[in-house]
Amino acid sequence: MPKVVFHHHGDTSTVVEADAGSNVMRAAVQNGVAGIVGECGGQAMCATCHVYVRESHLGALPPISEDEEEMLDCTAAPRDDRRSRLGCQLTLGEGLEEVEVDVPGAQL
């Protein structure tokens, strides 16, 4: 089963398993991971599922669509040019069996 590790401020982390085909936002919301909101339900419309992907996983990510690109300019916490992604756009499963992300300090 695909696995996501959410790192929080102050060195705590949450590890969750998710179904293939799910995504990082869903995995967080379904497991009650603090700091991921997902207000639009995964439509790349709200930018409240912002995560910073850890360096070692950057190569495995799907490309950033134009929509995601534009929404990433509007996140509540500052955008990191390399690591910022919308969790709802990171589909888990083939190619992305495991991913580690840092949860930003703010989503709203």
Binding site: Q30, G32, C40, G41, G42, M45, A47, D67, E70, C74
Partner: protein, 427 residues
Amino acid sequence: MCPAPSSDGHARAGHIGARVVVVGAGHAGVQVADALRTHGHRGCLTIVGDEPVLPYQRPPLSKEHLAPAEGVAALPLRAERHFAEHRITLLTGVTVTALDRRARTVALSDGGDVPYDALVLATGAVNRALTVPGADLTGIHALRTLSDADTLRTALLEAGSVLVVGAGFIGLEFAAAARRHAARVTVLEAAERPLARAVSAETASYLADAHRDAGTDLRCGEAVARFVGDNGRVRGAIGTTGAEYEADLVLVGIGVEPRVELALRAGLDVADGIVVDEHLRTADPAIYAVGDCANHPNSHAGARLRLESVQNASGQARHVASVILGARREYAELPWFWSHQGELRLQIAGVRLPGDDSVVLGDPATGRFSVCCLRGGRLVAVESVNRPADHMAARRLLAAGPVPAPENPHDPAFSLKRFAQELVPAP
């Protein structure tokens, strides 16, 4: 059990120990409870929801939840353990049947009573019913709940021809989803254009063309006169123009009515929703209303409104939590909305009213454009089709206060993002 938090038995609003009851476990109700706990509320907190499932997100129901692919699970609003962890008593499958304002209790369908110091009505809305002959035939559906969506998804797998009554947001989203099932899709709209009250004529006509190009037979100026069926099952409909339409699945999406029964019976003011003031409070200082059921004075529109959107539900919920904890600010969050219809991504910031002027940014023929809605020399709303950067710029701009109409919006070099940066420099 929930002991009275103060010696006089009624905690004042502003008391972090106040007993709070929330009626309705939708977007607004769940967010109220969340925001209360986040901001230090420690008293008893009960959410009563009549749907028999863990609270879930509604927007996907008319979108990816209907996709042909197997096994799309509902997206919960919060994980189940979230409620226990925050000491929120979540009652599902239980209806609040009456309010006793004198005793400050609500009566539950399972026979219990729950006392409150503050009561939040977050009862949402129900679909408006179509009352034409044949409307009770099998195969005629509405879409509001997870159970509706599950039923429709199964029905779509078998449907040959789909008829959608009403070209509102739900009707158009459903039509786009139905097309993916390779069914023939017809949409009937009584008005002369889709989304007549919700978007500008420019955006409406673009959406109408896009749905037609994608294969939907969209007929405006046509309503259903009656449905026809065989052995109790729908077979089609006769339009008010006399035209006949074949259908083995019908979705009726002609708008919603706010759920106001409880408020009405408790003697609270109701006028297209439960009437609340700028603090989202009813005339009873212990009772508030938020979300789809609340009719509130909206500072951005300069008018009373009842909005149906996730933003409105969440924003009002967060606000009411702060009021219960003693804040005195007026509710002033900028309304925004999105709708996802197949490849079309519509986003709206602000409130457009009938009669507003429009200026189109970009070329609709490219499938990416925005419409600026202007009123009295001000920019009041922006509708964006596949241009999220415009939408986010508009949100930042409109949230910051009154915005003068841009001077040169027709200039091909005009950019809403730059306009926003000039007026509201990024922090």
